[in-house]
């Protein structure tokens, strides 16, 4: 299906670098992807693959000395990666919201929930204090905090972990952003609460027509929640496509390995497939395809040339020489 | 030699060589210490020998011949005719002696009490830590003054001069033992609960051996840092007490005493009595402080 409407978020050849004493470390190396309005894109990868950094780069919160060294990030066609600080501040919260991993540390312990909500609302909307409070109560109610009006003036430590993350979601959505970046939103929560929070996030964003970039290392969460998925490996994209497609028919060997590691109730095998070896460190990425040392289908070209994303049917993209048309002809 | 080579290559030495501040501070400190130690040999005069003083030499300006005696003094003389340069050397000597001794005293006391508290635990530990807490909340200058006053009450006036230095050392040391005790106590408690220590105790190894072999090596780093900064503090404390008139006896002036004299003659224009000792004291305290700061950063595993 050709995409005729402009994507909400468009990332092209994004490069994020860290100057260190021993040279420049490239943490994100020419990553490109789109997020359409209202869709849920899952960004998945191992620890250290660069998922959180991508999210941070989009919202402009890269911690120095890290910086965007190249590429473009466009929100509805308008470039946001090169905005001055003041401009980026207007985008944050109002057009792009973010939810972090640990609800315990995401909220200022010395301020009431009311203060933090009202402050956020009034920063982006021209409303009175009273109106802001009413909006805050409505938000808390929507995210499932019982007795919202009473609990509005409570402090964060009065809430349990799951409740706190709901408050965080309320805060992230308070200014009605068009895109919400959720960085491991359930990793720090009790297993029993995780699916509730993910469902809440998906519902509330769908209601408001907001897109979600769901960053996680948990393929299971992606399978349940996302529309499309982008697989990140060593700072590069391995595969992008519709979730159903990628899960049932993973094309990139790395993704294939990841799928094998999802436990399912109907699994026939009696052990999880593990990919031998480990993801390379940023300063030790092999030439050519970053995955080649661990790939059981690697051939000569993989060791020399780095594959770009190759267009595949059904809106899929794979960064693997196996799918290069010229190659296919040669391999038969 | 082999050991020295290894030390030079170690992490600490590397960090030292890379930090210009540390190197400069070390050099300055060493120069002052060396000059102070060698004072009796390199000082042109002996300011402590009251018989050699000539009041007519008093108030000589630096590098200018004295109107009465014609003597030239590099940094001038004070009100009693003492050569400022020599007095700085001898004064620094006393300051360093008091400082080092006080630190050693505090270390021994602190480590001893810390070991006792950590090893015995129970009420001994609680009591000692309570005392430590209370003492920590009082400024050390007050404690030193108190001990000094008490000691004075006990010692007959005739003996006061001779004992003054020792009283100083004890009072400064007593006001500063707490940090060592805390560090050692913590390390003792950590080691005490480890299995090999418990095993050793069962076998009958004497606690002293366990202490020396296992606990003390763990605390050398922090103790050294505390000691270096403690040295700077002790030097400042001695200078302060001498300035206040309750430190070294007036016939054996230290840097603090000189500064007090200097203040008295500020308005009459004999600025050199104040300036040079001040520079010496500042250089000494600052270099030792910087060394201590650098040492703490170098030994801090988290900053690596």
């Amino acid at each position: 299906m050709p995409e005729t409407t402009e994507p909400l978020l468009s990332v092209r050849d994004l490069m994020v670098e860290f100057p260190t004493r021993r040279g420049i470390l490239r943490a994100i190396d020419r990553v490109s992807f789109d997020i359409a309005e209202g869709e849920v894109l899952g960004m998945v990868g191992e620890s250290g693959a660069g998922k959180s950094l991508t999210g941070a780069a989009i919202i402009g919160l890269l911690e120095p000395p890290g910086r965007i060294a190249g590429g473009e990030i466009r929100l509805k066609g308008q470039r946001i990666d090169n905005l001055p600080a003041a401009g980026m501040r207007r985008i944050r919260g109002k057009r792009i919201g973010m939810v972090f991993q640990d609800p315990l540390t995401s909220l200022n312990p010395l301020y009431t929930v009311a203060r933090q909500l009202v402050e956020t609302i009034r920063t982006h909307m021209d409303v009175t204090d009273h109106e802001a409070r009413e909006r805050a109560i409505a938000l808390l109610d929507r995210v499932g905090i019982p007795a919202a009006r009473r609990r509005l003036d409570d402090y964060p430590h009065h809430f349990s972990g799951g409740m706190r993350q709901r408050v965080v979601i309320a805060l992230a959505l308070a200014a009605e952003p068009e895109l919400v970046i959720a960085d491991e939103p359930t990793t720090a929560l009790d297993v029993s609460v995780q699916s509730q929070i993910i469902d809440l996030l998906k519902e509330i964003c769908a209601e408001r027509g907001a897109a979600v970039m769901l960053i996680t290392h948990d393929m299971g969460v992606i399978a349940e929640t996302a529309d499309r998925v982008a697989v990140l490996y060593a700072g590069r994209l391995a595969e992008v496509g519709k979730v159903a497609d990628v899960i049932t028919n993973a094309e990139h060997p790395y993704t294939h390995g990841l799928m094998g590691s999802i436990p399912t109730l109907t699994q026939e095998t009696d052990r999880l497939v593990q990919i031998p070896g480990a993801m390379p460190r940023l300063n030790a990425i092999p030439p050519g395809c970053a995955f080649n040392p661990r790939c059981d289908r690697a051939f000569a070209r993989c060791l020399i040339e780095r594959p770009d994303l190759i267009e595949r049917p059904g809106g899929r993209q794979v960064a693997c020489w196996l799918y290069d048309e010229a190659q296919e002809v040669a391999h038969g | 030699m082999h050991r020295l080579a290894r030390m030079w290559d170690s992490d600490i030495a590397y960090s030292f060589r890379r930090s210009p501040v540390a190197v400069i501070a070390a050099v300055v400190a060493l120069v002052i210490i060396a000059a102070a130690v060698l004072a009796p040999w390199i000082a042109p005069y002996n300011p402590f020998d009251s018989r050699s003083l000539n009041l007519m030499d008093g108030f000589s300006r630096p590098m200018e011949p004295n109107a009465f005696t014609g003597n030239v003094y590099w940094l001038g003389t004070d009100n009693q005719g003492r050569d400022i340069f020599s007095t700085i050397l001898y004064g620094a000597r006393i300051s360093l002696f008091v400082g080092f001794s006080a630190v050693v005293f505090a270390m021994v006391l602190g480590i001893g009490l810390g070991l006792l508290a950590g090893w015995r635990g129970g009420w001994v530990d609680s009591l000692l830590m309570r005392i430590a807490d209370v003492q920590l909340s009082f400024p050390s200058i007050l404690i030193a003054l108190l001990i000094f006053g008490v000691a004075r009450g006990f010692i007959p006036p005739s003996m006061r001069e001779e004992v003054a230095i020792w009283v100083l050392i004890v009072s400064i040391g007593l006001s500063d033992w707490v940090q060592y005790a805390r560090v050692v106590r913590g390390a003792t408690m950590v080691e005490k609960n480890k299995e090999y220590v418990q095993a050793a105790r069962v076998i009958g190894v004497h606690p002293a051996r366990i202490v020396v072999k296992h606990i003390l090596p763990n605390v050398t780093g922090p103790v050294l840092v505390i000691g270096t900064i403690g040295l700077a503090l002790a030097i400042i404390a001695e200078a302060t007490l001498s300035f206040l008139g309750v430190g070294v006896p007036p016939t054996q002036p230290s840097l603090g005493t000189l500064i007090r004299i200097g203040q008295q003659y500020l308005f009459s224009g004999e600025w050199w009595i104040l300036l040079f000792p001040s520079i010496a004291l500042l250089a000494l305290a600052l270099s030792v402080n910087l060394l201590g700061d650098w040492l703490r950063d170098a030994l801090n595993p988290r900053l690596k």
Binding site: - | L145, F243, I259, N289
Partner: protein, 327 residues
């Protein structure tokens, strides 16, 4: 909450008792009060009579109890050196010390927080580096030297400010103040700077370290992600979280100021309690020493208590009933 207050009060009383014990021991064992009070010619029989009359032959505990009783009423006896009631001496000189402590403490806090916040928010930049270097020197400079050097520059060379004393003072009832006259106000400047410089350095470094820590937290990151303005983040969220531990430590420093006033008062010939104490140490004037000790202890204990309660009021997390996790 009530249980907490009561517990702290009890601790304070115990500390005061211990200090009283030390002060009393001073009285009993240091020097001989009789010798200080009578002349050489007094006969031994008369001395003994005086002893009994003063209760010096009573059992230890009774003397201690008497001591505490009198101390509670503010009666510390007569100064050996000045032959005046100790309490009177202390009270007459207290306003001078308190005014000095107040001005320097306030200045130290204001400038300390100001510089600390500035150097935390502007980590590079030559002004920050200059401030940090000066602070390092400030820690290595003994207080008395700062005072003397200040006198040299501002009183002797530039002749802008007086070099000693309080200037003209005005009596407002029992309180002799220096704030109401120009010379009084000019006289307090140099001593206040001397006394406050060390404290200011400490506060500044503390504020800077705390603020840098706070700026790294997740909630500040989240606040940024919500698009809050820099002012709201730095001065709304970060500052409040920074100040909570700073206020406690600053409060505890207040006690130090009073103790360090000993030095400053000596340098500037400031007629306060500190100068009185130094004289008493030089002359082994035990009643004054003991009284000063008790007074300082009281000040410290009260300050500690107030700071603890303040902490409780400011940090909402502590209001949830917690049992034994305070220290």
């Amino acid at each position: 909450m009530l249980a907490y207050i009561i517990r702290r009060l009890l601790q304070s009383v115990i500390v005061m008792l211990v200090v009283a014990f030390v002060a009393f021991a001073l009285f009993r064992f240091v020097g001989d009060p009789i010798n200080s009070m009578v002349g050489q010619e007094t006969s031994i029989a008369d001395r003994e009579a005086l002893r009994t009359q003063l209760g010096l032959n009573d059992p230890f505990l009774i003397q201690f109890a008497n001591f505490i009783g009198r101390a509670a009423q503010g009666d510390f006896g007569i100064s050996y050196r000045l032959q005046q009631p100790v309490m009177e001496l202390i009270l007459s000189r207290l306003p001078a010390t308190l005014e000095l402590a107040l001005v320097s403490g306030l200045a130290a806090f204001v400038f300390g927080v100001g510089f600390g916040v500035y150097t935390a928010l502007n980590r590079r930049g030559w002004i920050s580096n200059a401030i940090m270097t000066t602070s390092l020197i400030g820690v290595s400079l003994p207080t008395f030297l700062i005072g003397v050097l200040l006198i040299w520059v501002f009183a002797v060379e530039l002749q802008w400010l007086p070099s000693f004393g309080r200037g003209e003072t005005v009596d407002m009832g029992p309180w002799r103040t220096g704030f109401l006259t120009p010379s009084g106000r000019a006289s307090i400047i140099l001593p206040a700077i001397t006394l406050g410089l060390y404290q200011m350095t400490l506060i500044m470094r503390l504020v800077r370290a705390e603020m840098l820590e706070v700026l790294r937290t997740d909630y500040i990151k989240f606040a940024r992600a919500r698009g809050l303005s820099n002012r709201a983040i730095h001065f709304g969220h970060a500052l409040k979280n920074t100040l909570v531990p700073v206020i406690t430590i600053t409060g505890l420093q207040l006690g130090s100021i009073i103790a360090f006033s000993i030095i400053t008062e000596t340098v500037f010939q400031w007629p306060g309690v500190g100068a009185l104490f130094i004289r008493s140490v030089q002359f082994v004037d035990v009643p004054v020493m003991a009284a000063y000790l008790m007074m300082i202890a009281l000040v410290f204990v009260v300050i500690n208590l107030v700071v603890d309660l303040l902490y409780y009021a400011v940090d909402p997390r502590l209001r949830v009933d917690r049992s034994a996790t305070r220290h």
